[in-house]
Amino acid sequence: MDALIAPLLNGSAQGALLLLAALGLSLTFGQMGVINMAHGEFLMIGAFAAYLVQQVITASNLSIPVALPVAFVVAGLFGLLLEVTIIRWMYRRPLDTLLVTVGVGLILQQAALQIFPSQGVPVEKPGWLDGQLTVLGYGWPLRQLFTILLATVCVAALSAWLKYTPFGRRIRATVANRDLAETTGISTRGIDRLTFFVGSGLAGVAGVAASLIGGTNSQMGAQYIIPAFLVVAAGGIGQLKGTIVAAWAVGVALAFFAYWTTGSLAQVLAFILVIVFLQLRPQGLFTVRTRSLA
């Protein structure tokens, strides 16, 4: 039983982390068709923000709840800066945007390497995350449960925001038909900036969660960006539910592969699984029906 429960629970937590990393990516990619390869570095910024908050508020019980909104805003502002300075010039060149953001990612990584100690910084885990929850005989670390709860809250908040607020409505209008949205008086450029802020901010939140599970260093973003993108691709563009299912599936698959083989081989197998899956459903899990040829 343990052989089934442990990878399932660990994998679900891993999937939740992937989901947090992929949410923002899915949002910006879905709306603007822009791949932000610096998204992983925004995640890193969120993690470092958590560390910096801890330097100010030393009680780790309190610092993590404070760090979440701080990381959201800090990473979001970095995203906004990137949008305003660079990405706005390149909406017609999606592939080039990808490369430019690779360059931005390199610069951010190097900057983090020089500002912070190169071996990374410790983010104290709050005491209330230390315990374990016994699930069918398996001691499940509480911080994994916390990751899942955090992801659930983020997804719920994001979908409610998209569904019920005027901003969300405008974003959905822009995704559905940019020209028509513009015609009805929506400033699609403003909406783009807003989306980029929120998407990058979500990466920051993901960074806080990642700092509680793994190490916080300048390389941490790079290891999330490709799995996160694969999740977005497998889930289907601009589809929140697809992203959720895909993230969970990839997380659990990773955990089971790692359980059966080794951690690195598991990554290889998961990558191959996603590539094979995209063979069967190139548009992802859930697709928006469209008559466009592309």
């Binding site: 390149m90 360059g103 390497l113 691709a233 190139p282």
Partner: protein, 370 residues
Amino acid sequence: MTKPRTTGLKPWFSLGGIAVFAVLLLAIAPLVLTDHWLNNLGKYCCWAIAAVGIGLAWGRGGMLAMGQGVFFALGAYAMAMHLTLETAGDRVPGFMVLYDPLAPLPVFWEPFRSAGFTLLAIVLLPVVVAGALGYALFKRRVKGAYFAILTQALAVALATLISSTIRETGGDTGLSDFKYFFGFVLNDPANRLMVYLIAAALLIVCLLAVWQLYRSRFGELLVATRDAEERVRFLGYDPANVKLVAFVVSALMASIGGAMFVPIVGIITPAEIGAAASILMIAGVALGGRASLFGPALGAMAVGWGQSSLGSTWPDGWTYLLGLLFVVVILFLPNGLSSLPAKLMRRARRSPAERPAPAIAPAQLEEVRS
């Protein structure tokens, strides 16, 4: 925005350029450069060979192949396995018996004892892998950013796989300490010169190959596929096949570059083939000019030089420089340095005073065109 132009210099003019380049690399460089720098130049040539392939796939075909490290690795590891076995002779290579003195040679190493098989593998492995991958992706119309990230994911996966199989592939330490190159002693300066000349000659051959491809019907079709894939489909061609050929050729070139990298540099590790290395290859192509004939090769040499000199003496600055290179070049000079002379010339010819006021604002023009 402006797309890479394909109409460049007249084809025969380019052929002359290749000839000049050949004379520089094959005749003048060995006379002028010290052994150390000649070896470095050989290394840059290997990256340039891979870059020529990227130029074909990305610059002309619009396929941003961000995982050319995979094919670089296929060639490099095929060559490295052969050279390791050649050095080890009848015994099992040293690193394998490090952990287990009685370790047998892994089955997939066995055929690489044969020189013929190795050479065949360097050519056929990338063709088969890129063929299968390309067929699967292009027939399902996977393109754009998807293609880019999937290929990069493969490069990451392969590098991870090699890192983790330390007993079979040497892991992170890689394969090194080669003594012989198809029977020639690698320490001998004359033989090192020969290895350099082979790499440089292969670069020239690759340039000639893409020169011919660019001026052929296939080259036109490839550019057409890049710019308007649907129109090509409606004209009765299958864009998937066109892209497949370009991708396979570019993979083959990456593999050849990788194969020559091994005897010249003397070591191959997963770090030379992973995501960062693949990005580095793209950087050179972007800098030189993705769609031009010489741009990718020269750009890759420049970035290669930066990586191996600045990268070791001033690593922090080099990373910033590399990041800035991506941002600045792609933002302001999407066609790389090779488009700079034409751009400056155009600007010089029309001084601001006599430039006619545009009848339509550029933004509107953009709208109409798209």
